[in-house]
């Protein structure tokens, strides 16, 4: 390819196609397995939606957000408000507005509502904090997470507080989750190669130079923040319809830790990294979980102590940070496989 010619459409979208193929293969293989595997795969796909959503903001803007699980919480509850049986809501959630309390909506409108409410909250929050740079903005997102947590675990008449919302229809299985995972991948990739994605990544590399390049950085950050919150809100709605029961403490520090660990392990610099992180961390956590439960060796049942999952994950994160600080994917996307080896060798040398 001549230097500076725009790559063909197929080639520009190749990383997306490759990632979708990998994700599809995982779900197809998983769907052959037992019930336990199906549950694992479903949860993995939902986490993929979350991590891809978080990546869309953190990866392109370079601003660390600790608050995205708050958007997941908002999306989850909004969707549950729509799909739970009205007789239960009239009894338990008396603070809900009429249109939610007395009606029952379908799964898709509920998911859309969850995403939109999260996006709307992100618009308000982002308008206030997107001009903060560096650590100040990140701390503000953490404060947001804490506020959401405290509101949702105390607002008895709307969230049922500590007594949980029950009876959310469990309609999300591996293939439903897969569909949303593909949707999240497409949205994130299209955003990343769009004009806004390019301008945002410029502001990540050098904020001052981006401003001097006519980039309104507050605006491009805000766009990414809102789209990213929408995706994570949708993931929350999916999670609600996977679990069937909602408690606010599901959406707090440990989920924040796991999702950020996925992003960091895979590499925050690329969509390929986000997907790699979800896959690798899920496998590691599953293995450790099985070992916590115990492995029979002859007559004895060997098992790791409780908490090994978190410790193992922490160790893996530390190792990746030490040996591959930009993550397993090193900030790159899946390379185009059809470049002759001779030419490929030449490319980095330009």
């Amino acid at each position: 390819m001549k230097s500076g010619t725009r790559p063909s459409l197929v080639r520009r979208f190749w990383p997306l196609v490759a990632l979708c193929l990998v994700v599809t293969a995982i779900v197809a293989l998983g769907s052959l397995g037992n019930d336990e595997l199906q549950v694992t795969i479903t949860e993995m796909m939902i986490r993929l939606v979350v991590v891809v959503g978080i990546y869309l903001f953190i990866g392109n803007s370079g601003i660390l957000s600790f608050g995205h699980i708050g958007f997941m919480c908002i999306g989850a509850y909004a969707a549950a408000w729509a799909t739970v049986d009205p007789t239960w809501k009239q009894m338990m959630l008396t603070g809900l507005p009429d249109f939610l309390q007395n009606n029952q909506y379908g799964f898709l409108p509920a998911v859309a509502g969850g995403g939109l409410l999260a996006a709307f909250v992100a618009l308000l929050l982002g308008s206030a904090i997107m001009r903060l740079s560096g650590i100040a903005g990140s701390i503000a997102t953490f404060a947001f997470l804490a506020i959401v947590q405290s509101v949702y675990s105390n607002w008895e008449s709307v969230t049922a507080a500590t007594s949980s919302i029950i009876g959310v229809p469990t309609v999300v299985g591996p293939w439903v989750a897969w569909l949303f995972a593909i949707g999240a991948l497409v949205l994130a990739y299209v955003f990343q190669i769009s004009r806004f994605g390019l301008m945002l990544r410029a502001s990540r590399d050098d904020e001052v130079a981006a401003k001097s390049s006519a980039v309104g950085i507050v605006k491009v950050r805000l766009i990414a923040f809102v789209v990213s919150a929408f995706i994570v809100g949708v993931a929350g709605a999916l999670y609600a319809h996977f679990l069937g029961i909602l408690t606010a403490d599901t959406f707090y520090l440990s989920l924040t830790f796991v999702t950020l660990a996925m992003l960091v392990v895979g590499g925050v610099g690329s969509l390929t990294g986000a997907v790699t992180g979800v896959i690798v961390v899920t496998v590691v956590v599953e293995v450790l979980r099985h070992m916590e439960a115990g492995v029979a060796v002859g007559a004895t049942n060997l098992h790791l102590p409780q908490g090994s999952q978190e410790i193992g994950l922490g160790i893996i994160m530390a190792l990746v940070m030490i040996f591959r600080p930009s993550g397993l994917a090193r900030g790159r996307e899946v390379p185009w496989p059809f470049t002759p080896a001779a030419r490929r060798a030449k490319v980095p040398a330009v």
């Binding site: 230097s3 500076g4 725009r6 769009s194 004009r195 390019l198 301008m199 990544r201 410029a202 590399d205 050098d206 001052v208 130079a209 981006a210 401003k211 001097s212 390049s213 006519a214 980039v215 309104g216 950085i217 610099g269 900030g331 490319v347 980095p348 330009v350």
Partner: protein
Amino acid sequence: MNDALHDLPPGIAQAQAAELVAESIVVQFQGLMAISDVSLKVERHEIFGLIGPNGAGKTTLVNCLTGFQRPSTGRVLLAGEDTTGWRPDKFRKQGIARTFQAGRLFRDMTVAENVEVTALGLGMSRRAAHEHAMAMLAWVGLADKADAVAGTLPYTDERRVGIARAMVMSPAFVLLDEPAAGMSDAECDDLMHTIVAIPKEFTCGVLLIEHNMGVIMGVCDRIHVLDGGRTIAQGLPAEIRSDANVISAYLGMEG
């Protein structure tokens, strides 16, 4: 004139402002007077030299003229309009572009993308931005490096990409902060050929900061000299060369 450099998509106008004025600018950093009461005017068809010893306040003044530094007192006027309160991206949209002493490329992005970003910021479509970026890179002689990652470029090429990025969509004024710093004489000569062509090629005024007196005397129409944040001389190159204040400031620097 090279048409590819000026082919703007319909609906996108070239900046029209005819003069850029600094009016009694004062900049104070916690008690330190970085600039004290400096006024200057850059016109659209000239190369305006801004010189002075290290720490004279040249970069700080450029920051004021591009929205990166708010003057403690004084104003910046673009074609008579007060720019107080404009953000840096607004300055660029109104036709005032700059480069940075430190280069400041987007290191993880390709050379072409580095230039495209400005075109996108100014409202071009993806496709138009790419074509325009390629024309700008051809102009600075880097078309063959369009796909290279910016962080891997040698120093001299980095400067050229910075200039290509600044010249996107023909700004009315471009402020170049030591574009030749650290270059050999031959490289510097090369670069100056490119810079000297800017006023005619783009109908764009140039403010040039440069330490090499030979270069400054050779390419500038007018020169403004700062020392310790004050204007110590301004005028034609011949006048500056024989100015007693300038001579002592530079002797002081060397001695």
